[in-house]
Amino acid sequence: MSATVPHLPPAQAQALAAAYDAATAKSRLRGLGVAVVIGALVLLAGWFAEVRPAALKNIGHFTDYLAKTIPTISAETPRADIVAWYWDLKTWARLLGETLLMAYLGTLLGAVGGFILCFLASANLVRSRTVLFVTRRYLEFCRTVPDIVFALIFVFAFGLGPIPGVLAIAIHTTGALGKLFAEVVENIDMKPVEGLAASGASWMQRVRFGVVPQVLSNFASYGLLRFEINVRGAGVLGFVGAGGIGQEFLTAIRNFYYTDVSAMLLMIIATVIIIDLATEHVRHRLLFGGQHP
């Protein structure tokens, strides 16, 4: 691949360059404008967020911290060292399992809630502005308040443990999935629905036979995506006492049990990555029917 492109005579090249400059001048100016606005916002935000780049000189703390979490595994007794590192594997595995179950149940309940509400939030199925408005605002409330805030409140009501965690995930998921589901429903082909309406189907029948078959695979895909997000989220719900591995993890961090932190963190990361890969695989199959796009 050593073919060279012949150069244009200077006069012609100059004319071309000038035309290019003229053509891009406007977009360059706009780019500059955007850069100035972003720069100003960065300064403003930096002042608000008390950014002190000098504090980053403590980056040593970060690496020190990471270094301390690395367990000593000698070449002579690697097995025993790993067993000692994961000394409380039973508890951690149980808590991690609890975290997964919380994410599962929360996602399922939330998906059911989102499924029921999404049809009422779709402008192509519901004529009443009031119903649309109320449903949409409710979904917005559910997804804007973070799950950990719901968890904080529910811990008071239901006591410590996984129950407030599950309910918090379920409510937040209802909001997030309800919106996504409604967007899917609003993009469907209306012909089957009109056909059903023409043959006298009730609203429920139109939804059941006209809408649901079109949207189910997309719904399942979004549900799986949400499950993946919720597994990550459920890991930290324990910070406020709402079950799962978070509580144990926070204790380990706060009490500087360095190797426990790394042991649990590795378990969490591995679980999240495995779930990521598995759901991505299933999602691809759902959306593209087994073939890669």
Partner: protein
């Protein structure tokens, strides 16, 4: 699509009278898909069985739920009427801090992830080792929750919003790296081939063939993440990393529910405003229709 079920032209009584004839003439329309139904039933059964197991394992019981719900009702009644008790300026300042955290975190993550995404894209660096290892780095970075990153950064830069911004940057770095490199891999090859054919180097190819194609996609993804980060930045104060989360946690723990509802209303309003602005910007960047993926 109003349903005229009681129209004079309602064909259903006539058709219903001749049900047997219909069955005989259109056997296909009345055929039941036995195997498909069995598969669907087994699938739903498995999901429900898992849910029942989760309910049992997570110790859900009706009495506790009932007691919790009644206490929850009490808390909700305490939310009204919203009353800031004169702390509105403090809340507003904390909310500004939250926005600053989200903005700086998202921007930093995007700026840092941008070059790495090119390195991780198969069509830029066709080296499977680089591709694989960078993807795993992205996976680890995004499978650690923002709150956990915040706990780590507090060790380095101390309590405050700066740690929060860094935490969001770390968590989003992985997500952006993955999304950006997927966008780069999905680009049209023709532009790159054109640049190569007219004698451009690898860097020219990136600058003139890839960047113009991916920039709108990337910009819209960054805006979308900014929206969702304003939500997650509201809770980062739970571990002491700045923003309104600190007030929210403290007020929920002391059951100052009237102030809690003021904060929630403020968050709702802010997030709605950000959503509005950023979705307008996203539409403007990417064209009329929002991507559904």
């Amino acid at each position: 699509m109003t349903s005229h079920t009681t129209s004079v032209l309602d064909p259903r009584p006539v058709l219903a009278a001749d049900m047997e004839g219909l069955r005989a003439r259109h056997p296909d329309a009345f055929r039941t898909n036995g195997r498909g139904r069995l598969k669907a039933a087994a699938f739903v059964g498995a999901i429900l069985a898992m849910a029942v197991f989760a309910l049992w394992a997570l110790d859900f019981n009706p009495q506790r739920m009932w007691a919790g719900l009644s206490r929850l009702g009490l808390f909700f009644s305490l939310l009204f009427p919203p009353d800031a008790h004169g702390r509105l300026p403090a809340f507003a300042q904390a909310l500004g801090e939250t926005l600053a955290i989200a903005f700086l975190g998202t921007l930093t993550a995007a700026v840092v992830a941008f070059p790495f995404a090119f390195l991780a894209a198969k069509n830029v660096i066709p080296n499977i080792f680089v591709h694989f290892s960078l993807r795993r780095v992205f996976d680890v970075s995004r499978s650690v929750d923002t709150l956990i990153w915040a706990l780590m950064w507090i060790n380095v830069v101390g309590l405050g919003p700066f740690a929060g911004a860094l935490a969001i940057a770390c968590a989003d770095f992985g997500a952006f790296g993955k999304l950006f490199s997927e966008a780069i891999e999905a680009t049209d090859r023709k532009a790159s081939e054109g640049v190569t054919a007219s004698g451009g180097s690898a860097l020219h190819r990136v600058r003139f063939a890839l960047v113009p194609q991916v920039l709108p996609v990337i910009a819209s993804q960054v805006l979308y993440f900014f929206e969702s980060n304003t939500r997650s930045a509201t809770i980062i104060g739970i571990v002491g990393a700045g923003g309104i989360g600190a007030y929210l946690t403290e007020l929920i723990r002391t059951l100052e529910m009237q102030q809690v509802s003021v904060i929630i209303l403020m968050i709702l309003a802010t997030v709605a405003a950000i959503d509005f602005v950023s979705s307008r910007l996203r539409f403007a960047i990417i064209g009329r229709k929002a991507p559904t993926a």
